[in-house]
Amino acid sequence: MGYFKDIFVGGLSLIEGMGVTVRRLFQPLVTVQYPRQKIPLSSAYRGHIELKVFEESGTHKCIVCLNCEKTCPSGVIRVQGEKQKEKGPKTLTNYVIDFSKCSLCGLCVEICPTSTLVYSKEYELVGETGADCQIDLMARLATQVEKTREEKKTQEIAA
Amino acid sequence: MRIKDIESRMQNKFPDSPLKGDDTGVTGAKWSISVPISGIRDAAMEFDAAGFFLESITALDFQDTFELVYHFNCYEPGSRVTVRMLCGHDQVPPTICDIFRSAGWLEREVHEFFGIKFSGNEDLRPLLLPEDADYHPLRKTFGRVGAYHKREVIYG
């Protein structure tokens, strides 16, 4: 009798399984069609780093202390600055990151004394050569400034 | 309590080596014992008989000597025990892979990383490194190295 019971119980379990899958046929889909549909990024999202544009000054606050460069485990960051006056502080002239090496640990962001390093929300990145992975944050800053200015304008017009 | 059992076994076997207890819990082990090279097989056999398993084997490279660190543990709470063994740079410790089968791979790993040979272990092919690797990357003479100390610098 156990022979038939095994077949029956086994068959029943299979039908139960098919019940689970067929129910899914009528449920809404969970995937999104990516390039056309996008899901909102989380506010904590860690993209590559970028220089923050402060509203009051309209630019970054980097003081070229080189802490980020020193703390980076993978040697991603290259910062250059020069003194404009003999005794004055250094100003940033060049900030390049090699994103191909970055492991997004965030140590540079945490160590930044002026909080001018932040994570960008950039995730659609593609590169074909090593040179494509070099991100020039100063060039990026210019577009950022431009963008905030435009946003401000549209806001003013709207107001 | 297997830990009590192994304590008495080790004291019988190695009356000269004191058990160094650890109250702070930093080392993660209840106590540690230093055994001579000739004693490691005896110690392993005692641990096997007491129902312990071999958690890890690793080595430290000092200027004057290698130090092999064996961690044994059993399925009772807080029963980890460290067995330490000093092993000169040209000495060959005996294998324990016939006592603990896991030791086979662990010794292979120590051998490829530090160049310590284990007598009696037939299969010392590199495990993680390429098959033809003839370098020992975790030695302090290989590649970029922060510091190379004598043993007493750290352990006094």
């Binding site: 077949i7 299979l14 689970v20 067929v22 899914r24 046929l25 995937t31 | -």
Partner: protein, 327 residues
């Protein structure tokens, strides 16, 4: 003989073969799309969406890609057999289509041994798989091929025994006779066990999951067609789907009333649509099964055949024989 050339049997056959090839290919393309859609929706994703409306042209795009790919011949493979196998795998399927009763007038060649012909030729499939697996000179392919032979030998027996109980009831091996005698009651209601056994064995015959052990991609990479690329693989792939259509069409004819409507009512729907509707429903069930279950192990598969399916089908056949004799 006044019809002349157009009415001749030879012309009918050739025309039929052309139609069969065209239909079977289009049908296979559609089935591949259907499979991807069914699996997609079962898994809460939409499946192909990009080429054509709802991805309908996706398989055609895939086919074009496959044709454009290089046919790689492994070193030390048996060249003749290697290229023969994908061609060989299609023969039995095409022959099977010749005797399928789509509707009363729509049979290319109504043979009085039609059922026998289909099953006789379907054995060639396994020969093709063995040829392909052997010729590839690859251990995974050979393992898959050997598994396939053992599996097909084991599952042809319950398959034929199940079919035999239907044949016993009709006293005919002709498809049109069998379908006609189901005018009011489908045989699935008289022979539920035989029908079930047929469907299970047919799934195994076509190497579909959960009986896809000759391919078993997580064990044998791709089984017997591991070494096939481009259209070599494409032919095996299309043959699988065409084969699936064939076994489901045969099941429709034998158990589900073929072109007949439900309990004698056809609701004004032409027979050929009834036939296709039932066949596609069966195909959907087979797909549904595939996307639900894990794969059975090789020895369990054999056990199931020899210890469960064959005894049950023999008992079923005996009972049928006795009942038919009494009535």
């Amino acid at each position: 003989m006044s019809e002349g050339l157009l009415g001749s049997e030879l012309f009918r056959l050739i025309l039929g073969l052309v139609i069969v090839i065209a239909f079977s290919q289009l049908n296979a393309l559609f089935l591949v799309w259907l499979e991807r859609k069914v699996s997609g929706h079962i898994q809460l994703r939409p499946g192909p969406m990009e080429v054509g409306p709802h991805g309908l042209l996706q398989t055609i795009a895939d086919g074009v890609k496959l044709i454009g790919k290089e046919l790689i011949l492994p070193l030390k493979a048996d060249k003749k057999l290697f290229f023969l196998a994908p061609v060989l795998v299609f023969t039995p399927v095409l022959v099977g289509f010749l005797v399928l009763p789509f509707s009363p007038g729509l049979i290319i060649h109504d043979m009085n041994v039609g059922v026998l012909l289909v099953f006789a030729f379907s054995t060639i499939t396994v020969l093709a798989i063995l040829t392909g697996g052997w010729a590839s000179n690859n251990k995974y392919a050979l393992l898959g091929a050997v598994r396939s032979v053992a599996q097909n030998v084991a599952y042809e027996i319950p398959l034929l025994l199940a079919v035999l109980s239907v044949v016993l009831m009709v006293h005919s091996l002709s498809f049109s006779h069998i379908v006609e005698s189901q005018k009011t009651v489908w045989f699935i209601f008289l022979q539920p066990l035989a029908g079930l056994i047929y469907l299970i064995a047919a799934t195994a015959e076509t190497n579909r999951a959960p009986f896809d052990i000759p391919e078993a991609e997580s064990e044998l990479v791709a089984g017997f067609h591991t070494e096939y690329s481009g259209m070599g693989f494409g032919l095996f792939f299309l043959a699988e789907y065409t084969n699936m259509f064939l076994v489901c069409a045969v099941a429709t004819s034998l158990f589900f009333g073929g072109w007949n409507g439900l309990f004698g009512f056809s609701f004004g729907i032409p027979g050929v649509f009834w036939f296709l509707l039932k066949t596609y429903l069966l195909i959907f069930v087979i797909m549904w099964v595939r996307w639900t279950f894990p794969r059975v192990r090789f020895d369990q598969l054999m056990n199931f055949s020899w210890k469960v399916l064959i005894p049950l089908s023999i008992v079923n056949l005996l009972i049928t024989a006795v009942v038919v004799k009494i009535i």
